[in-house]
């Protein structure tokens, strides 16, 4: 569906505006997001450093307290005091307070980890006799700090060896156990989470505590604690984070506002561009209307009237010129068509006459051909009937000769019957082919078989004719039919004298333009004079054969004996070889 230029202008303006709005929007979004992220990370880093510093200070204070308490003579003395030490050690231990009154358990243990006394008196004594702790504190005489899980809470255990001056060795240790989370919580801002900040405390073995409920999509920064030994063994780190949703909330607001402004700009651009498009394309619309009118009424004489002063005026002028030129071309073409039409009418009339004449000639020719065909069929029919009648008469003559005992005569008549039958055979073949050239192998087979019909039922003659594509014209067919008739008659007469089975083989070939036909039987063979070409003493048959070949067909015949008689006949080919 075609679109108007005004609409295209609107779409182009809209697309361009949208591209600009989106590009600017995306760039602004990315820049603002990057800036916001940097600001948040800086803030988080500051927060992490602040809280870490507070916590480090508190942990180090506790650590210092433990170091000092373990070296205090009250504690040292209690190791070697017996009954009565509770009077001064318990108040001493009880006097120890953690910041924000975080509950703790401070216990003095002997070298085996057995509790001697705690800040809770005798009511709460815990055995600290695990091997790693004793190895570190008593054997290695070094302080230990570790995290312990108690239910869902993580507790910090700090143990300091208590050195006994008289031996210079650790003879016990002071163990402080406190819940870690209240200590950490105390170092967080007054209202944790007020800024949407999330805090996570981790140790060497992973996360210890966190305020985060949803840990996905969090911006964070991590601060590693720089605590004194043995607290450094805990490898504590504090991660302060903020959910990206909350962090980028201002960005979402900004994006929403931007999108709203962008949408308004697009609507405005759409309206302005449509109005401008209409104004710009008004002359074109007028031009289009005129063009449509020209097209509709095929009236190139119409003139386009445009009042604007821009490129469209030039276009209108050009179109008017083009219309004038078109009108001139149209007139010229009309004249040429009229002249040509006249010429064509004259030619048509002449052609009609020629067609009429040709139709008449064709009718005459067809009629003549039909007459010729009828005549040919009649001639064929009459020739065939005549030949049949002759054969019939010859048979009657033969029967009469047989009745009168005229054996020799009967044989002669019979030979004539065979020759006529041969002619009849070739006539039938030519008739059915309408006297067109005959296949030589078909001719040989038909003629020889016709001759063999005279064979008594007790005798058998095998016939083989080699396949061939060679054809012979009607004259050659007549001559060859008589030759083959004579040769096969001879075979019947002589080859079956002393036996009941004989054979005839005919082979056909062509060398250049000479056709060679070889007739061979397995009879007694030809007499000696014939082999030398002397046909003077031969019967009428072979004499006829020799005459037909040499005179009618301008061919040659050569008789030889090779396990029977062999007649080799050559003659020129008159019918072209079929294309292979």
């Amino acid at each position: 569906m075609p679109r108007s230029i005004a609409r295209k202008i609107s779409l182009a303006a809209l697309s361009l505006t949208m591209a600009v709005v989106l590009t600017l929007g995306l760039a602004s979004y990315l820049f603002t997001r990057h800036t916001l992220k940097e600001q948040i990370e800086e803030k988080l880093s500051f927060e992490a450093a602040l809280v870490s510093h507070r916590l480090e200070a508190r942990l180090d204070n506790i650590n210092n307290d433990m170091r000092n308490m373990s070296a205090n003579l009250i504690v040292v003395n209690a190791l070697i005091d017996s009954a009565g030490r509770e009077m001064y050690v318990e108040p001493f231990l009880r006097s120890y307070r953690l910041p924000r009154n975080i509950p703790c358990l401070l216990t003095l243990c002997d070298f085996s980890g057995k509790p001697i006394i705690s800040c809770k008196g005798a009511e709460k004594l815990r055995q600290y006799s695990d091997e790693p702790l004793l190895t570190q504190v008593i054997t290695n005489q070094r302080p230990l700090a570790r995290l312990e899980k108690k239910g869902t809470e993580s507790h910090l255990l700090i143990a300091y060896p208590v050195f006994y001056g008289a031996t210079g060795k650790a003879e016990g240790f002071l163990a402080l156990e406190l819940p870690l989370i209240p200590l950490v919580s105390g170092c967080l801002p007054d209202v944790p989470g007020r800024d949407g900040h999330i805090f996570k405390l981790s140790g060497a073995s992973g996360e210890i505590w966190t305020t985060a409920k949803d840990r996905t999509s969090i911006l964070s920064t991590t601060s590693r604690f720089k605590t004194q030994a043995p607290l450094d063994q805990l490898a504590l780190t504090l991660t302060v984070g903020q959910s990206t949703r909350q962090a980028y909330a201002p960005l979402l607001t900004m994006t929403a506002i931007y999108l709203a402004i962008g949408a308004m700009v697009l609507v405005l651009v759409l309206g302005i561009s449509r109005a401008m498009g209409k104004k710009l394309t008004a002359p074109l619309v007028a031009l289009t209307k005129t063009a449509n009118q020209v097209t509709k009424h095929s009236d190139p004489t119409s003139e386009i009237t445009v009042t604007s002063l821009d490129e469209i005026t030039q276009l209108s002028s050009s179109i008017n010129t083009m219309l004038n030129r078109l009108q001139e071309s149209h007139d010229s073409l009309e004249q040429r068509v009229t002249d040509r039409t006249r010429e064509l009418q004259a030619l048509n009339e002449k052609l009609a006459e020629e067609v009429t004449e040709r139709s008449l000639a064709e009718a005459k020719t067809r009629e003549y051909a039909e007459t010729q065909a009828v005549l040919l069929r009649e001639v064929n029919h009459r020739v065939k009937n005549n030949l049949v009648a002759i054969i019939s008469m010859l048979h009657q003559e033969e029967d009469r000769a047989r009745e009168k005992g005229m054996r020799e005569y009967q044989i002669r008549v019979q030979e004539v019957v065979w020759r006529v039958a041969g002619l009849l055979t070739v006539h039938r073949l030519l008739s059915s082919s309408e006297w067109k050239p005959l296949p030589l192998n078909q001719l040989c087979e038909s003629v020889i078989k016709e001759t063999l019909k005279g064979l008594s039922a007790s005798r058998t003659m095998r016939l083989s004719v080699s396949p061939s594509e060679i054809r012979v014209d009607s004259d050659q067919a007549h001559s060859l039919a008589m030759v083959l008739n004579e040769l096969s008659t001879n075979t019947l007469k002589y080859a079956l004298r002393e036996r009941d089975t004989a054979s005839i083989a005919v082979s056909i070939g062509q060398q250049d333009n000479i056709i060679e036909l070889t007739y061979q039987d397995d009879g007694p063979g030809f007499p000696e004079p014939l082999l030398r070409g002397d046909f003077s003493d031969s019967g009428i048959g072979l004499t006829l054969v020799n005459g037909l070949i040499t005179r009618n067909m301008q061919g040659t015949i050569t008789l030889t004996n090779d396990n029977g008689g062999v007649a080799r006949i050559t003659f020129p080919a008159t019918v072209p070889e079929p294309a292979s």
Binding site: I80, S82, G84, Y164, A166, E171
Partner: protein, 376 residues
Amino acid sequence: MAAEPAKKPVIIGFDAEVGHTTSTSDDAIRMGILTAISEINAAGGVLGGRPLELVIKDHRSVPARGIKNIEEFAEIPDLVAVVGGKFSPVMQEEVPMVHEKKIILFSAWGAADNIVDNGHTPNYCFRLSLKDSWAIQTMLNHAAKKGAKRVGVLLPTTGWGRSCEKAIKSYLITHPERSVTTVQWYMWGDKSLLDKYEAARNSGAEAIILVANEIEGSILVKEVAGLPWEKRLPIISHWGVTGGDFTKLTGEAISQIDFSVVQTYSFFDNHREQKLKQFYKTAGQLFKISKPEDIPSPVGMAHAYDLTHILALAVNKAGTTGRVRIREALEQVRNYDGLIKSYPRPFTAEDHEALEPGDLFMSRFRNDGAILRIRE
């Protein structure tokens, strides 16, 4: 003729502050036991020829280690008794475990009254040493003889100190004419006792009753020796200071103040020459000891020597290594002629103290460390 197979030894345990850096009392007690064992074994041993053998464990003067040692001693077959070291607090804490395991515990030095006066029946604790109530009595009497009716007391914050405090209170009840101006408690490991000394002096004390071992005692001696003459009060000391090489620790300071110490025995004025000759013979072979100056912490060696002989008698009397029978036999031993004295009946069912208040006397240190009896 085939040699007789070695007989199974009878074990005596020694639980002492072997690892204590300044203590010599453990060495003295060990030598006393070994000297006696040597003589006993030379005489045919116990129970028809079984030798005595000493097994030593170190409690480093820490009560918790002492309790663990007692538990381990209880597992040793044919262990007949354990001899304790200098530190009363260790033995005080061992008392319940000793009775739980039915181990005979001998104190050859530890002086706290409640080591023996522990309330257990039957009582498995015996002592051949002084006890705090006797020592305090002797020390306060000595103060009185020196004209000091008002004394200040410096006590360690331990069971030993509390035992002495109790003894002082008992003494004052029977001697109302004498008074204690102040009791100052110090901690083991204190680097200075001068403030407590000054507090005592400022309270009007004419002499100082000191209950201390060699380290704290030497600190005080050096600090007092540094004071002007008029501020140097006589110091009357419990015998803990003799459990180490005290004069080595004090140096010249010991000769610059009036310092006396309670004792139970002195090799310098022993009149039991035959016994002493035998002792020197054996100890000389074992430890190259030939004169009193060669013996560190002399009371420890003398106590241990006599104590081991008494134990051997009890073992033979019991006829077994069973400690229940030996404990009973100890109460039945009679007429042992010892190094310190002749013991007509060292222990009875009612009295597990082999010495008596009259055996105590005051001594002083000679510059070379020898402890000499003060003739009063």
